[in-house]
């Protein structure tokens, strides 16, 4: 069980970051850092050794979709698992996110079970 995975949670609402952080903690992932938009998150990702990125879409500064595109364009980060956790639910947006290279897409409001299910699916068995 690699529960020492390092997560970065990016959301402009501090309450949502806390909720995700608590859920990750309950799922056995205590190692979680936070950022409030893509602009803050990207240098953190480039500097730190993160294993997993969870990002919102609609954020001031740099939206989550742009962050994902930047992550995929960075050779060091290109393979990082990314879960999009957002209230954006338009069909074309979900397709756009898939094309940008997300590994999973969860729409808000979400349940702890959905988050666990997507994490397990992305991380594979035994993670």
């Amino acid at each position: 069980m690699s529960k020492d995975l390092k997560f970065l949670v990016v959301d402009d609402f501090s309450t949502m970051r806390r909720i995700i952080k608590n859920l990750l903690h309950d799922l056995g992932y205590p190692n979680v850092a936070e950022a409030d938009d893509g602009k803050t998150a990207l240098p953190m990702l480039q500097a730190g050794s993160y294993d997993f990125l969870i990002t919102d879409w609609n954020m001031p500064g740099m939206p989550g979709l742009d962050l994902i595109k930047a992550v995929r364009a960075d050779t060091k980060l290109a393979k990082m698992p990314v879960l999009m956790l957002t209230a954006e639910a338009k069909r074309e947006q979900i397709i756009e996110a898939a094309q940008a290279g997300v590994n999973g897409y969860v729409i808000k409001p979400f349940t702890a079970e959905t988050l666990k299910e997507k994490l397990d699916k992305i991380l594979g068995p035994g993670k």
Binding site: T15, D66, E88, K90, N103, F110
Partner: protein
Amino acid sequence: MEEAPQATFGNGRSEANMSSFAVLKLEYGACVEALGEALRSEDESAFFAAVDHIVHMREPGMITELRKLTGDLQQALERFSIESRLADIAENDIPDARARLTHVIRMTDEAAHRTLDLVEQSGPLAERTSREASVLLESLAAFRDRAPGTQGFEGVVRAVDAYAPIVRSMEAFLPSARADSELIRKNLAEVLLAQGYQDLTGQIIRSVMKLVGELESALSNLAQLSGDVVEHASMGGESGAGHGPVVPGVTRGEVASGQTDVDALLSGLGM
């Protein structure tokens, strides 16, 4: 009514003049006759109808112009009243609405953090109670496993000796379990109270919605007066910026109704 236009006057008018007068006679003759008839028969409504008809024949454009002028004046007055209300909305009501919405964000933020604080505080308490109860249960189980071997007076003494630390642990555990449970219960009651923000913010949002409705009708009235076609403004049109949460009745286009829809769409794309 159909009088012969050949009437002649011995006053030296040219033939052309005479024929133009004949035209006038044709145009007005019937009206004048109707006017005379109305006078004779003292028919007031017929009289005024004939007068109106003659006035209308004499100044066909004037009434239309007057009507247009009145319309323009009315429109200008309406526009003035709409524009002064719009100015009032822009100067006072919009900043006020912005302050109200900022307050809504602050209230929801505080309520969410208060709730999260209480949840974070209660979790470890419940965990501790559960953990200590497990330890006690294990001790009890271990004691029971040994118990069948206790026979005779010495056996009973040994059993009592073995049981004594379990009793001491229980004495330590029960007051702390009670205190933790009471605190959790108190925290849950506070979580309940913290949800009151929904009522308060709902009322504020409703008042802002009322203002938005008023603004919408003032703008659409103004657009109608100007005869302009107002293109529908869409929110969040910027590429990559997102549209925000789905608002029923507002969000256009195909929208996933839930996580199942999202999963189906993504698996259709091979994810």
